[in-house]
C-alpha cells in the first residue's frame, strides 16, 4: 500500500481550473510559507527526500483538507520537532524560545541568490552499472512500497506497479529517494525514463496511441 499523496489515476476529482500566468501567490502568506520552508531548508538538516516524506506522512484527513502551503507548513513543523530543532512546547507558544545552536547556519539575504542558483543536483557517480538500454522491455515492481523501510518513501506510484514498459532513455545515476529519505545514504543507481502504453495502466485508455512516461530507478525494474 502507498500513502495519501500517491493519487495518480484516482477517480472522483473535479475539473482542473486554469489560472492567469501573473498570479504567483494567491495569498500574501503563501509566499511567506514558501520562503520559511526554503529558508529552514538552508540549515542543511534534511534533504529534499526527507522533506517530501514529511509531507507524505501527514494523516490522510489532514493531507486532503490542507491547501498546498498548509501541507508545506505542517511538514516543516513536524520535521523541526523530529530533528530536535524546536520543541513541541515552543511550537505551541508555551515556552520562551531562545537562540538555537543552529543559528550560525542561517543564511542572510545576500546569500539567497547563490543558494537558489546552486540548487541540489541528484546525479552521482555509482558503482552500479546500467542493466538496461533504450528499447529494453521492463516490468516494474508488483508492490509499490519502499523495500528498505516499512511505510517509507518511494517514487514508484501505485498506478505503475507491476506494469510493463520500455526504456526510453538513461538519465545517468541518481540518489535513490527510498534510501536518502531515511538517512540511509545516497545509494545512487541508474535512473531511466520508462514509457508505458496507456493501455498497460488503465482499463479504459482515452486513445490507443497515448503513453505515460515515468522516471524510475533501476531497482524498481526487472527485465520483461
Amino acid at each position: 500500500m502507498s500513502r495519501v499523496h500517491d493519487m495518480g489515476g484516482r477517480f472522483g476529482d473535479g475539473r482542473v481550473v486554469p489560472e492567469p500566468e501573473a498570479e504567483v501567490f494567491h495569498e500574501e502568506w503563501h509566499g511567506r510559507a514558501l520562503a520559511v520552508v526554503l529558508a529552514a531548508g538552508f540549515l542543511g538538516k534534511w534533504n529534499i527526500d526527507v522533506s517530501r516524506h514529511a509531507r507524505e506522512c501527514l494523516a490522510p484527513t489532514d493531507y486532503a483538507r490542507f491547501s498546498y502551503y498548509e501541507k508545506w507548513m505542517a511538514g516543516l513543523a513536524d520535521l523541526l520537532v523530529a530533528k530536535g530543532i524546536v520543541t513541541p512546547a515552543e511550537l505551541a507558544g508555551h515556552a520562551d524560545a531562545g537562540l538555537s545552536a543552529l543559528a550560525e547556519k542561517k543564511r542572510g539575504a545576500a546569500e539567497v541568490p547563490g543558494v537558489l542558483a546552486t540548487g541540489g543536483p541528484s546525479e552521482r557517480d555509482s558503482t552500479i552499472a546500467p542493466r538496461f538500454g533504450p528499447g529494453d522491455e521492463v516490468v516494474t515492481r508488483a508492490i509499490a512500497e519502499n523495500t528498505l523501510v516499512e511505510g517509507g518513501h518511494t517514487r514508484l506510484p501505485q498506478y505503475a506497479a507491476g506494469a510493463r514498459g520500455r526504456i526510453l532513455r538513461l538519465h545517468g545515476s541518481h540518489v535513490l529517494p527510498d534510501s536518502s529519505a531515511h538517512g540511509l545514504g545516497d545509494a545512487a543507481e541508474p535512473l531511466y525514463a520508462v514509457v508505458f502504453p496507456a493501455a498497460a495502466l488503465w482499463a479504459h485508455p482515452e486513445h490507443p496511441g497515448d503513453e505515460v512516461v515515468l522516471d524510475l530507478w533501476q531497482s524498481y525494474l526487472s527485465p520483461a
Binding site: 495518480g8 484516482r10 500566468e21 495569498e27 529558508a39 523530529a82 542572510g108 541568490p113 529517494p177 538517512g183
Partner: protein, 205 residues
Amino acid sequence: MPHDHSDHDHPHSLLPPEPALRLKALETLLVRKGLVDPAAMDAIIDTYENRIGPRNGARVVAKAWVDPAFHAALMEDATAAVSELGYYGRQGEHMVAVENTAKVHNMVVCTLCSCYPWPLLGIPPGWYKSDAYRARAVREPRKVLADFGVILPQDTAVRVWDSTAEVRYLVIPQRPDGTEGLDEETLAALVTRDSMIGTGLVVSA
C-alpha cells in the same frame, strides 16, 4: 524522521488553526531562535514573484524555434543549453526538453507532489499542484486538456511525463503557422506558461 501518529500528536497540530496565523507563529518562532532571517525570506519571495518565471522558458522556446544550433543543443542536453542562457538552479538541476509535433503532444505532471522546472517556469500554478490535475492527468489527459479548451487532432498521441525523479521536463510547443517572419522576442511573447507544461498550445497573435 516524522513517524505515524494518531491525529492529535502530529506536532503541526500544535500551531494555530487559521493558516495565515499558523504561518505567522512558525515564522516568529524560527526568527526568534535565529534560524531564519526575515530579509532572506523577503529575498526568496522577490526571486519567485519578480525575477524567475515563465518568461525564462518562453525565451528558451523562441530561441529553439529560430536557432537550429541551439535547438539541437537543447534536445541533446537541455541542462547545458539552458544554463548557457543563465537558467539553472533549484528544481532545474536536470532538464530535459520534449518537443511537440503533429504526431505527439507532450504534457507534464507530478502525481506524487508538484515537481516543476522552477528556473524556467517559476513557481507552479495552483492547478498544477491540485489533486484534480495530479490524479487525472495521467489517466485522462485529453479530458484535462479539454478543461483548458485544448482539443487535439484524433491522430495526435498524448505522451504524459510523470516527474517522479529530479529530472524536470520542459515542453517545446509547436511553432504556429504564419510566424515565419517574426523575431525571437515577438515569438517569445506568444509562448504561454501552459504551452510549456503541455496544457496549452501556442497560437499566433
